[in-house]
């Protein structure tokens, strides 16, 4: 009938079956393209292809002044926008040796943690969706809305805030902020039980994730997998603990650590981090000191010539900002060490030999945000 019916008979072992997952694929959470080599259902290897939304943020930074850079960092890992802003602000403040008011530090820490919870909520719902449980998506988003409402009331926007400026904040927090945050924590402590009932305890989810996609501690360090994904493998990489910034040295919190490094462990890291973040917020929310919401900064910020590096703990791992200044008002070179970029590099390693469904689950548990990779 047709030539295609006469299938070429080859040794099955030699047969390479390439499949493109992405750029237009529901499970890549963005425009990432993975070329997956399959053998039946089993993934033999995969190659990531990036750059579909590369915007050249590092190049753009070279012509922007330091306050202007803030709005670009929002757009890297848009789910932890505040934390990205925080990195650049800290870099500038440390370079200029500006003492930031205590109030600012408290507010920044609280908002970072809120942002982390919001980010993990979105991760949870998209992870649930990757596993095939669509209902998770709506529960996660429903609760994330509460945080976004708090953000909107205080800073006027829901996703990309540009709220921090070098030296302080754009404006003071809204008078309702503290009450709303406390109400949210009370609300979310109740709702997070639903998450556990619906997905964490579910036997299908556990069977699919336990023992799948194992990343050893050595590999996690070697691949630079940080954040919850790295800590699941036992890599103590929490910047908040090891290189404290903000008021993290004053609060009592645990660095959530795992041992097995499988998909389920990575899942549990984030679930536990949400509890830990709520604990941090509770310790701080009533103790915000009075004071100015910004330090006095010069109208034109010029960093002294030299090199600066600032690390913060974004919700997906360690975010590093490397800046070379030649004394001008714009940086000479700005490099962002984004957590997802390094986390992605481990994907090929840990997904060899798993099934397609596991690949999707592993991708969900690594929680990559593509704009952060592409920058």
């Amino acid at each position: 009938m047709k030539e295609v019916i006469n299938l070429p008979v080859k040794n099955i072992e030699e047969e390479e079956y390439h499949i493109n997952m992405g750029p237009q694929h529901p499970s890549t959470h963005g425009v990432l393209r993975l070329v997956v080599s399959l053998q039946g259902e089993i993934v033999k290897s995969l190659k990531p292809h990036c750059g579909y939304i590369h915007r050249g943020i590092e190049k753009m930074c070279e012509k922007d002044t330091y306050p202007q850079i803030i709005h670009l960092t929002d757009r890297m890992d848009y789910l932890s926008a505040h934390i990205n802003n925080h990195a650049v602000c800290l870099l500038v403040e440390n370079a200029l040796e500006v003492e930031v008011p205590e109030r600012v530090k408290y507010i920044r820490t609280i908002i970072d943690e809120l942002n982390r919870i919001a980010s993990h909520q979105l991760w949870w719902c998209s992870f649930g969706m990757d596993m095939g449980g669509l209902t998770c998506y709506f529960y996660g988003l429903r609760d994330r809305e509460k945080i976004l409402d708090i953000f909107e009331e205080s800073f006027g926007s829901r996703l990309l805030h540009s709220y921090y400026t070098p030296g302080g904040l754009m404006m003071d927090i809204h008078p309702n902020f503290q009450a709303n945050v406390k109400a949210f924590i009370k609300y979310f402590r109740k709702k997070i039980k639903d998450y556990d009932d619906l997905l964490t305890g579910n036997v299908i989810m556990q069977l699919r994730t336990k023992g799948v996609g194992i990343l050893s501690r050595e590999d996690a360090i070697s691949y630079g997998v940080t954040g919850p994904s790295g800590r699941a493998s036992g890599f103590a990489c929490d910047v908040r603990k090891h290189h404290p910034y903000g008021v993290y040295d004053k609060v009592d919190f645990k660095e959530i650590m795992g041992t097995k490094g499988d998909t389920f462990e990575r899942y549990m890291m984030r679930m536990n981090e949400m509890h830990e973040s709520m604990k941090i917020i509770e310790q701080l929310i009533d103790n915000i000191p009075a004071g100015d919401y910004s330090a006095k900064m010069k109208a034109v910020i010029k960093l002294p010539a030299g090199e600066y590096y600032q690390r913060v703990e974004a919700s997906r791992g360690e975010l590093g900002v490397y800046c070379i200044s030649d004394g001008n008002k714009t940086p000479y070179r700005m490099k962002f060490r984004s957590p997802n970029f390094s986390n992605l590099s481990a994907l090929d390693h840990i997904s060899r030999g798993v099934k397609i469904a596991d690949l999707v689950a592993i991708g969900g548990s690594l929680d990559y945000v593509i704009p952060d990779i592409d920058r």
Partner: protein, 116 residues
């Protein structure tokens, strides 16, 4: 109605699909675009052959399935008469299931019930 009228259901079903497809063929817009006829693979042209020998992990299951499916043909008539025949039928099916269960247990222990 008799069993021959099954053909009616066959025709009605075929008519529904056929009619709708023919209707859509005339009513729907038609634009020819070579890109549209490409198989969907996330927006990237597909590499290599699609139809090639595929290593599916369930051919052993398929064999066990065949065994059990044939056995179930015996079980159905037995089930109908079980009530009337009583003890004889029960003892027979116990023996039958014992053999069947041994087969399943053997496959299980041999690892045939594992993917790959």
């Amino acid at each position: 109605m008799s069993a021959e009228s099954l053909i009616l259901f066959f025709i009605v079903g075929a008519f529904l699909v056929g009619f709708a497809i023919v209707f859509a063929h005339f009513a729907a817009p038609n634009s020819t675009n070579p890109q549209k006829a490409e198989p969907y693979e996330c927006g990237i042209p597909t590499e290599g052959l699609t139809w090639l020998q595929f290593n599916v992990g369930y051919y052993l299951f398929a064999i066990i399935f065949l065994v059990f499916d044939v056995e179930s043909v015996f079980i159905f008539p037995w089930a109908v008469v079980m009530k009337e025949m009583g003890m004889t039928a029960f003892i027979e099916i116990v023996i039958f299931f014992f053999v069947l269960g041994l087969g399943l247990l053997y496959a299980w222990k041999k690892g045939a019930l594992k993917w790959e």
